[in-house]
Symmetry: C2
Subunit: 308 residues, 2 copies
């Protein structure tokens, strides 16, 4: 079967439903809302939000498929890297290249500080001139780093990668480590995961093989996260744990508003603000010059996040 943009978007729409169903079962209390929106310039999306659940305090599973004239910077950027110079300028009919972009974005902020924050995104992009690629990733931000969970999480991602390409896990883990970093804090956002972009047919991988890898990242997300939920959701926690959770969420806000490329791109291109900023937690906190107690669990986590 030919891989068309329509079939990819349909696959994603279906995945959105599956993921929401799985997360609703894991939450046990609340369901996701279901809101459809349209984009004036072409396309639209389905935004699904869960709020004040039993396990999830705030979470979003967002699908979108948008299209239209390729923005200036897109084909300008391409001119530098393209092997042929013509396809990125106006074609013979004087019409701008068209773009199509579809994807799912997920951020889950749990209630219990012992359950990690998770983020997942898979995206597909194509232009009328033939450019097309897959991007995405999954990364974990525990409020408290638990070695066993970190090993489990990375091992699951490694299995997904290894099934398709022996080099992908190492390469995409490094990419995540580089990307989910807060320079002004000299801290990683969490324990990383995998991150990849512009996959087409590199590394002896065909476009179709990368499509299969990309789909496995998407379907791999929910089973991995619900295991982390099940293992940690009943752990007891104190006021101090809750305060630390709010401070770590403050860092999450700093990363997303200052560095995250998707967020910046969205805000600068007049994207749908509520969808872009669904990644922000329900509550966050900043304390001046907060220092965790010596030898506390908070200090241990912070030391693991600090870059040497």
């Amino acid at each position: 079967m030919e891989i068309t943009k329509e079939s990819i978007a349909d696959w994603l729409k279906n995945l959105q439903i599956q993921i929401c169903n799985t997360l609703e079962k894991a939450d046990g209390l609340k369901n996701f809302t279901n809101e459809t929106w349209e984009r004036k310039e072409g396309g639209g999306g389905i935004t699904r939000i869960i709020n004040e659940g039993s396990v999830i305090e705030k979470g979003g599973v967002l699908f979108s498929a948008v299209s239209g004239d390729a923005p200036d910077f897109l084909y300008k950027e391409k001119e530098h890297t393209a092997t042929t110079s013509s396809p990125y300028r106006k074609n013979e009919m004087g019409r701008l290249p068209q773009f199509f972009a579809t994807g799912i974005s997920i951020v889950i902020h749990p209630q219990n500080p012992m359950v990690p924050i998770i983020h997942m995104n898979i995206r597909y992009f194509e232009m009328s001139n033939g450019v097309k690629w897959f991007g995405g990733g999954i990364d974990l931000t525990p409020h408290y780093i638990v070695e066993e969970d970190a090993i489990f999480f990375h091992n699951e991602l490694k299995k997904v990668c290894d099934k398709h390409n022996p080099n992908y896990y190492t390469k995409f883990k490094k990419w995540a480590d580089d990307y989910f970093f807060i320079p002004h804090r000299n801290e990683t956002r969490g324990i990383g995961g995998i991150f990849f972009d512009r996959l087409n047919s590199d590394d002896e991988m065909t476009f179709e093989k990368n499509f299969n890898f990309w789909k496995d990242v998407g379907t791999g997300f929910a089973p991995i996260y619900i295991q982390l939920i099940a293992k940690n959701k009943h752990k007891p926690f104190t006021e101090k744990n809750k305060q630390w959770q709010l401070l770590r969420r403050g860092r999450y806000v700093e990363f997303n508003l200052v560095y995250d490329k998707g967020t910046q791109f969205g805000l600068q291109t007049n994207g749908r603000v509520e969808s872009i900023l669904m990644s922000l937690p329900k509550f966050a906190s900043w304390e001046y010059d907060f220092k965790p107690e010596k030898n506390s669990e908070e200090e241990k986590t912070l030391q693991l996040l600090k870059r040497a």
Copy 2:
């Protein structure tokens, strides 16, 4: 008396003490901390923070005076605007131009949602090649806009401006309206105030006259704010008011992390993170697609903040 950078920094240091004393009296419960820090490349500062006071939930009054080799972008930027081309490059001794920057920055987040957030900054900058200027401003971010308070606030700022130059209030009010704006929300951060930059000797104003104006902005801050505190600190408030305060603080975080030039400059130039981010509130909140109730006070405030 000659206006030297040393005398300006001394004046600011003294103002910092005065402002903290006045705010401590207004709070009645907590005092400011007093922390001195040094900058490896030259200069340093005094950071004063108040936390969980009776009136002020989190506030900072920060003095700094830093110096050293002018960063690349500073003299590169100048090359475009300079009337002579030489002073901004290395001088005959092959030494980079030196810069000196001193100022006070204040952000106060009150406990009671009926008391507005306030921000004040005054800064002085000079370079060894003779470039020198004043900048600064005061702006107010009420969680609930009260017309009487807004009129009082702007009128006080107008008085400060009018004393020195009949054009300054109109000019600097517009500057504040343009600056304290959140494009992705199409909202102003608050009700504005005044904002100015690179004042030297324009508009029939000498450097000395602008210095006197600038000093009056600095000394004007505390008396204006303590009146707003006194008038509003005993007003009753509900859980709903508190929730709205947290959401408005979320907008404050969005502005400061995404748009504020001082914050961006600080984070990009490896500034002192805890000082730069003292502007962030102790607690903030984000709710997906929050819409205030019809005809509520929250809706009225939001309508006033939305740009037509």
